[in-house]
Every structure is written in C-alpha cells, then in structure tokens.
C-alpha cells in the first residue's frame, strides 16, 4: 500500500493545558470561512440565524444606550459648567432704599475680581418671570418684589464667600445666590441618567453573553456525535472549539454591525438640538462621538469569541 499522509511524530504530552491556544484561534478566525476546517461541523442553521438576529437587536439597543450615556454626560457637564459661572444677587429693601442698594451692589460687583458682567434685571423682565405663577392680570408693581442682579463670572476660581461678605457690608439687603441649591439635584439627575446609560450597556453585553453562550451550547449539544468522532480521529479541543468559535464570532459581529448601522441611522434621524430645543434633542452623537458606536460590532465579536470559546472548551471536557 502506498504510504499516505504520514503524520509528523510529535511528543504526545502537550505543554498546553485544556487546549487554550489563542494563536490557533486567531488563525482560525481570520481564515476563510467555508473551508474544510469549518465543514467538520455541520451547519447550525436556525441557531446561527437567531444568533445574528439577536446580536443585531442588542447592538441596536446598545447604540441608544450609548447615546443616552453620552448625552446625559454632556448635559451634566454643561449644567455643571454653565450654571457654575452665573449667579444672582437678590436685594430686598424698603422702596426708598432699593435704588441706592442696587447701585451699591453693582459697584461692588464691578470691583470684584472674577466678575465678567453684572446687570440689574429690568422690572418688565421680572414681571415676565413671575407671570406664569401670578397670571397676566396681577399688578406686579404693587408687590414688594426684590431687585435682581445677574452676574456672569469668568472661568476659574471665584470666591463666593468673600463677595457675600462685601455685599453684606455695602448693601445689607443683598443676598448672593450661586444656584447651588437647585443646580446640584439637576446635575445629580443627569449623572444618574449617565450611570443608567452605562448600566444599560453593561446589561445588554451581559444578555449578549448569555444569548451567545446558550446558542453555542445548543449547537455543541446538537453536535455531540460529531465532536465524539472528531476526538476519536485525533482532533485537539482547540481545533473543534475553533470551528464553533469562528462561526459564532462572525455571526455576532455581523449581526451587531447591521444593528449598529440601523441604530446610528435612527439616532441621526432624531431632531437636532436647534430645531426643537430641550433635553431629548441632545440625544445623539457629536463629532468624534460618532466613532463610539463603531466599537459595538467589535465588542460583539469579542463577546461571541469568548462566550463560545468558554462554552466549547467546558463542554469538550466532557468528551474524552
């Protein structure tokens, strides 16, 4: 008989434990799909289609969760930064002293380092602010309304305490309000939303891991006899695992790419901030931020890779 094949003689004991060989896996993943190495495992059909579909849906949701996390982050930063640079001085004084105290306050602010701009709020603007509460017919002039002075600070440190002390000295009826009382809950809410966004991303990733693990385990279980035959003819665990890993990694990455593209399209179609205003119109990606969603298919591929590999190697240990 003609000598055929002729396997190279190698030491029987291998240095690799449990067949973990990332190099072999990488070669398997980057090789052409549909070759003989892939064909050793029968097509998984239904399971593979479901994996692609599920990965797509997860990626679609992940795009929105990412957009939410980034938008709320921007919002929190904007509020924190914007409101920190404005303050209001409220002057409460008898009608006869109001004008003098307002002038004193403006003089103090003019000579305070770090104050970029200060101006008294005109009475008609104050009336407009109160109208939503009192209605249009209320004679606001008859009410003891405090005089308001808006000030804009320059960027950098600003000594609120020193200003308050100077105001108390020069205009006893003046109170400095740096918006801290209502700014903090707003920022806290925005930051909580950002955490929720990232948490959602984490949950989506966890569901993707569970889904791919289930699909891979089902495919492995359905191919128990195939695995048995492969082991009997001398297949290493990594060879068998790679056939499954490559399949599920590609399905996960492909589905996620489609889902990401759809999600990005949907986000792009949202009204822009100038068109409608308000919080929700900020839900999108800006500039380089559009690159972030492109990571989703890569992460999905990585999730598919590690989830399938872990499931495959664990299951293969049950077959001698």
């Amino acid at each position: 008989m003609q000598r055929l094949g002729g396997a190279r003689r190698r030491p029987l004991a291998s240095s690799r434990v449990a067949g973990v060989d990332p190099g072999a896996l990488w070669r398997g993943l980057t090789g052409r799909e549909g070759g003989v190495a892939d064909r050793i495992v029968p097509p998984t059909g239904h399971t593979a289609t479901l994996t692609t579909f599920s990965a797509g849906v997860m990626a679609f949701l992940a795009v929105f969760a990412l957009a939410l996390a980034l938008a709320t982050g921007r919002l929190a930063d904007r509020w924190a930064e914007g409101l920190a640079q404005t303050a209001t001085v409220r002057i409460t004084a008898p009608a006869g002293e109001m004008e003098a105290q307002a002038a004193a306050v403006l003089e103090v602010l003019r000579t305070t380092p770090g104050v970029a701009q200060a101006q008294a709020v005109p009475p008609e603007q104050v009336a407009a602010l109160l109208e939503p509460w009192f209605g249009p017919d209320m004679p606001v002039d008859a009410l003891p309304i405090p005089q308001l002075v808006e000030l804009q600070m320059e960027r950098g440190e600003f000594d609120h305490e020193a200003l308050q002390l100077r105001l108390e000295a020069e205009a006893p009826g003046a109170v400095l309000d740096d918006h801290t009382a209502w700014r903090r809950p707003l920022i806290a809410a925005a930051r909580a939303l950002r955490v929720l966004g990232w948490l959602s991303l984490g949950l989506i990733a966890a569901v993707a891991v569970a889904m791919i693990t289930l699909a891979a385990t089902a495919a492995l279980a359905a191919n128990g006899q195939v695995i048995r035959v492969l082991r009997l003819v001398g297949a290493r665990d990594i060879t068998i695992a790679t056939a499954f890993v490559r399949r599920f990694t590609r399905r996960a990455a492909l589905g996620a790419a489609a889902g990401t593209a759809l999600g990005m399209g949907a986000v792009a179609a949202l009204p822009d901030m100038q068109a409608a205003g308000g919080f929700l119109t900020g839900l999108g990606f800006h500039g380089w931020g559009w690159l972030w969603p492109l990571l989703i298919p890569l992460v999905a591929g990585a999730v598919g890779f590690f989830a399938t590999r872990r499931a495959a190697l664990r299951m293969l240990r049950e077959v001698r």
Binding site: L4, L12, V233, D237
Partner: protein, 224 residues
Amino acid sequence: MIDMQDVTFGYGPGTELFRNLSLNLPPGSFHFLTGPSGSGKTTVLRLCYADLLPSAGKITAFGQNLSALDRDGIALLRRRIGVVHQDTQFLDHLPVAENVALPLTVAHQGIDMQAIRDLLGWVQMTGLARALPPALSGGERQRAALARAVILSPDLILADEPTGNLDWDMSMRLLQLLAELNRSGKTVVVATHDMDLVRAARSLVQARVLRIVGKRLQQAGADL
C-alpha cells in the same frame, strides 16, 4: 508499542470486567483478540487509545503513560493509532472522501486528493468518494473506516469487529487489507468473536490469538 501491566478495569463499582491484565504488543505483530460478546474486547481496544483509563495498573503507548496524558496528548496519541470502530463512526454531512481525510484535516495537514483517491482505490471505493456515509452499505462503511484509519500512516491499527456485519467474501477482503498493512510493518489488533475468520487468517498472516476468559486474558490457553 503498547504495554499493559496488571490492568484492572470496570465500568463502575462492582462491575470489574477484568483484573490484572498484562499485554505487550510488539511492533509489526498481528493479534486477534477474541472472546464472547461482553467479555471486554472493545474495552481493551478503548484502553489502548485512551478512550478509557484503567482503574488500576499501567498502560504505556509509544513509551508514554496514557494515564498521564493531557487532552492534547490524547489527541496526538490518536493520530498514531488508526482505529476501525465497530459502529464505523462518520460525519454524515461530509462525503466519504472528506471523512477519509478527516484525520488529516484535524491534524492541519495538507490534503492530497490524488492520495485520497489512491486510498479509496485500495479499499475499492473509488466511485463512492462523493457519497454520503448514510448511503453506504455495511461493507463499504467498514472499508471506508479502514481507509480513514490508515490515512495518517499510523504505527498501530486497532479494528473492532470489522467484519461483524459483512458477508464472508467481504470479510476476507477486509482481512486481506489488514494483512497487507501488517506486511508493510504495521502492528494490527483485530477484536472479533468470529473464529472462522481467525482460522482463515492463518493463510494470510502470522497472527497470535488472545482470548478473554473469565476476567483474564489468555494466549494459547495460558494467562497473560
């Protein structure tokens, strides 16, 4: 090549199949392993390719203790042992040629299609290269299994009841193929309960007959 020292094996507590079994398979030998159904012939073969591990004793193959091999080590061992399984296990979704080439595929060795055709010709299955295993007859499956078992040119060939489902002519054809392999220097072990086959082999090959009797392995009536 294969050395068993005082091997005891059972499939569970109180189900000891044999005790203190010792066996040495020298290179180039041809052995028949006989015994009634359920005596443990298949188990002895499975112990040889580390599909089972002994509960006591030591089995050495190619100088390595099989109990000490890791999973990759077992895979590499099996590339040096060609096995014709009793139930001729194939991948039903692959054609015969790819099933025969399977050991090359999993060993990441190049597949020479001309060599595959030559091998299929040797077992008289040239025309069935593209057939799927479920379409094969019992004899064709056995011959395809033999072709797959020898494709990596292993040093040791284990055949488990290779003629169990075959008619006499086909059984003799398969025996001739095994004898041919033995003449080319391969060590061959054939597990069979068919003593007619053993007798017929005398004209083809110089074979030793081992018999499992009452948890013991005997040669020419003496315990091993």
